[in-house]
Every structure is written in C-alpha cells, then in structure tokens.
Amino acid sequence: MRCVLVANRGEIACRVLRACTEAGLDSVAIFAEDEAGSLHTELATRSVGLSGEGPSAYLNVDAILEAARSSGADAVHPGFGFLSERADFARAVVAAGLVWIGPSPDAIERMGDKMTARITMREAGVPVIPGCEIETDATGDDERDLLTVLQAVESAAVEVGFPLLLKASAGGGGKGMREVSSREGLEEALRSARREAMAAFGDGRVYLERLLRNARHVEVQVLADEHGRTVHLGERECSIQRRHQKVFEEAPCPVMDEDLRARIGAAAVAAAEAVAYVGAGTVEFLLEADGSFHFLEMNTRIQVEHPITEAITGVDIVAEQLRIAAGERMQVGDLHLQGHAIEVRIYAEDPSNGFLPSIGPLAVFRPPTGPGVRFDTGVREGDNVSPSYDPMLAKLVVHAPNRPQALARMRRALNDFVVLGTTTNVSFLRDLLDQEAVVGGHTHTTLIDEVYPSGWTAPPVGEAARAVAACAASVPPRSVSGTSSNAEPSPFITIGRRLP
C-alpha cells in the first residue's frame, strides 16, 4: 500500500489525507467540478477532477475507480457518507485490485441492512431495541405493495406499542425515519419514509422500533485487525441531536462506570465479531436510565465524532485504519482513558429557523486556537458554502482533564470562533453549553426539543453590536465581488503595531 485515494470531500477527506502524509503514503484527492481548489485538494499529493457537480460526482463508482487507476492509487479510503457503506463499492474496489480501507463487503452488507443487523445481533446475544422487522413480498405494483406493508406495519405496531419509530432498513442518519405517535399517523409516515428511502437508497423496506424516550445515544468505537484481535476504545455519548443528527458529542459518557463500560464494550466487540469485522467501526446503543442498553446499529466506517475517542485514548484511529488495511497488526495498547473530550459539529444552518441549511461566503472564518483545542475543517476563509453538499463545515473538539474544564474550554473556544457571511450554529452551540441539562450531563436524544420547545432565538442585538455594524458600514466597504476601494492596509501586510 503506497498511495491512497480518498473517495470523499470536506473535513473528513482532509483528516484522512493528513494521516496518509504522516504515514508516509502518497495520496489522491478527488473533486467535483464545483469543488476545484477546495481545501482537501491541496492536502493530497495529487488531485483528480471528476465530471459533474454536487454529491453525485462523489457517488460515481466508475469515475472514482478510473481516478484511482489514472493516478496510480493502490488503496481507497471512503471516509464517511457517500460510498462508505456501500458494499457494492467495496466489492468494486477489491475487484479492481485495490486495497479497500474498511471492513469486508459482507460485513458492510450485514450491518448496512438494519433488519439483517437486528437479526444478526439477536443471534449473537447482543440486546436489540424491542421492535419488529416488516418482511413482505414485493409484487412490483408500488401502491399494492405499500398496502401490504401497511397492513403488516399496523399489526406489528400493536405489539411494539406507540409511540414508535418507523425506520427504513437501508436508512441511517435520520433519513427514512419517522416518529409515529398513533395508528392514524402510520400511513403518511410509511409513505414518506419509503419515498425518502427509495430516493436515497433504492430500498423502501422498513421496520418498527419502540420509541425509547429519555434514552441516551451511546456508541462504542471498535477496532479489529486481520490477526484476530478486536478491541473497543470506550464509548462516546452522542445524545444531543437536532433533526436526528448529532451536534454535540462527548467522551466518556457522563454516567458511565467501569462495570457498564466493560459490559457495553464487550457487547460491541461481540457485535463486530459476529460479522467478522476488520477495521474501525462504531456500534451504537440506546442506554436507558436503568443502565440497560440496546443495539441500535453499527456504522461500518470512520465516524464523524472519532476525534473525541482519539483525544481520551491517545489512539490515532485513522492511522490504525491504514495500518490494518495494510495487513499489519493494530498498535493499540490497553485501554486507558485520559480526561474528557467534547466535539461540536459546525453546521452552515440557521438554528433560529428550524436548523435549515444556509449558504453564503465564509467572508471571515477564524477558528479558535489554544491548548486542548482541535479543529478539523474542510473549509477556510474565502470559501463559499454551497447548497449542494452536507451542511457540516467543520468539527470543533476540546480535550481537558475533566468534564467541567472541557465545558469551560469549549465555551471559550466557541466565544472566540468568528464566522461571518454565512449563518452557522456557533452561537446556538455556545448557548447550548450554558443549559443546565448539558452542564449537569443529563443528556438524552430529545434534549434540544425540550430545552428549546419553541425553537432557539438568536441573542438580541445590543448597543455595542449596533455601533460596530454602523462603523463597519461607514468605512469604504470591500465588496464581496472583490473590487477594493479600501486604502486600509490588508492585515497580512500591516507591519506596525496598532493601538487598541
């Protein structure tokens, strides 16, 4: 393994490309036509342009394999999202004679289909969420099939009980998932979830799960190599979500104890071993207040929030992925957790308007720095946030000796983070960090809805802010189109000290 093509974009592509450089490997970035010159292309040894714009470019298996061939790559790292959990892509990579940096296609398939995964886990003795897989024969007549499924769903729902979650078997990340509170809502939920799942995954099968309220989303990082060793790296607490996507993650989980960690860790290892897993993966659980936990799903790829595990374990998970894919033994020692880490996801979205995605120029983009602060970004000042891609721009991670210090460090970092020109969730996150439920560690999956029952409102514009805005508007502006009428020196050539 000498040259890794990273079949992704944004911050995770940057993360993986840097890991390749540090591992002494050459690397290849790919980019859609609308992403030429983006940050990840600069971190690779070489970069290859793909036809087309938007996510579809990164989903074009043939084009990606051709890019690997033409650039001399001999391995493919899929990152997360896009093709990372597509068994057919993994198979195509292997068939092309390239190293696939991930688990076997078979393991991806068995975990990617959530219904199959539930059955596999039950057989492996891993507790799953009470629920029911809906298995019906398809006739090809969509409306007729829908009615058959609806009948099965309605009768299963009686056993599962309301409220429940109707989920697409091929789904994930909140897609194809609907919360249903009563029998009346089942049909619309089924139609809409099936449609979303068909569009996103080409597979409309669904299953039901009991809705566990006030449960925590706790996940366990696992690593397995080809030499028969499977370990877990402790848990991450990822309960705080908006629109079924995580926004705030921490490790360790505030209510974890050694006994529970040993049990949930063993369950995660059992889950991985049940599918002969090799590589880095994450087993997600719902943890209830009484300490019982249920398998939710396994993500057969690197996870967005892997940095918090890296912080407290000292393991470089991406470096281990490369090592494992090369057939080497993992270099992980005994598990020893050090301090507390928190990650927040920086989204281009408007938290005061239902967290809807926003777009615009990153006219000013100055991430926080300082001890214990890690910033994984896919963008930099001057970039444009496009509506085509996932709105996650970056991840801000802090590591500190304990949870209160980590919270304090994150507050300081968020205060210092300046993003102008595009609406982001930074001010919302800063507010969230002061909420009693977060400070006290009483996190669960509906926390944001409960803390902000009528949505979040941006802080009022005070006197100082108005004064700044007025002055900034009064000096000759630098327009966004780039023509400058400003005689002030640019910051990077001003050499004199300035008076405060």
């Binding site: 777009i359 900034a472 508007a473 630098r478 910051p491």
Partner: protein
C-alpha cells in the same frame, strides 16, 4: 448615519468620527484592520469585534456572538418575506399539498421540499386562504422564492 432594518422597525445609528476612532453613543470604536475593531464603552474593558459587509448586510462578532444587520439604503435588496410561504433554501418541490381556495390554519403543511438530501415541509404562517400556488411538483426553487400565497381571512 446608518439605517438598519430590524424586527422592531428601522433603527438609525450615528457614528461620529473622532481622530482615529468613531464615537457611537457611549461607545468608542477604533479600526484595527480590515475586519477587526476595538470596542470600548459601557464601563467595560476594551474588547475586539470582527465585522464585514457582505452585499447589504453587515455581519459582526462581538462578545462571543454573531449578528447580522440589514442595511437600508439605495440599492439595498428587499429584506425578503421571511414567512413560511417562501422556500427556506434552494431545492426541489416534492409535493404540493394545497390548491387555490383551500382554507388553511397556521402550521398547515403547504409544500414538501427536498434539499440537502432531506425532506422539509413549508407550513402556512397564519390562518387564511390559499390565493396562489407558484410551484409544481418536480420544480426547482431558489432560496426565498415565494411558493404559495396565503391571504389572511378578514372575518
């Protein structure tokens, strides 16, 4: 004099030049570079603010929070009807749930859109009657584009 559009109406702010600084009410502001300002006032120590103008908005960061203020001036674009009848982001129309003449309540779903690989519902902002539907299924819309007109009932 600078005018901003706010939810409470138009606000006028009068910065007065004073040597290298500007005086605005109780605040003294000094430009440090293209985007950074020193802000003194309210009896507090001086602190750093960042500000930049993008189109007809001023974006700024002070005291750990970001604000966006819309300028009122010749050539300024409309602040946009921020109600629920406009597209909250660019995307495609998946379903149109109402027709002209329908009576709707605030919160009634009007249109289902797809953007960033997620479905989003656009709801009626007030009780009223649908008087126009500007989109159809499969059409693409821009951010801020009006999808449906709902007229408040006068009863």
């Amino acid at each position: 004099m600078v005018e901003f559009r706010t939810p409470e109406g138009t606000v006028e702010v009068h910065p007065v030049p004073d040597g290298r600084s500007w005086i605005v009410g109780d605040h003294r502001l000094t430009r440090l570079d293209d985007v950074r300002w020193s802000v003194e006032g309210e009896g507090r120590p001086a602190r750093i603010a960042h500000a930049i103008r993008v189109d007809d908005d001023v974006w700024l960061h002070v005291d750990g929070r970001v604000h966006r203020l819309s300028l009122v001036e010749p050539g300024a674009r409309s602040g946009g009807a921020e109600g629920g009848c406009t597209a909250p982001m660019p995307g495609a129309v998946l379903e149109v749930l109402v027709s002209v003449g329908d009576e709707v309540e605030a919160g009634t779903p009007l249109v289902v859109m797809e953007a960033m690989k997620m479905e989003h519902r656009v709801m009626a902002p007030t009780d009223g009657t649908v008087v126009a539907v500007h989109v159809e299924v499969g059409g693409r819309v821009l951010q801020g584009q009006t999808l449906v007109d709902v007229e408040t009932d006068v009863s």
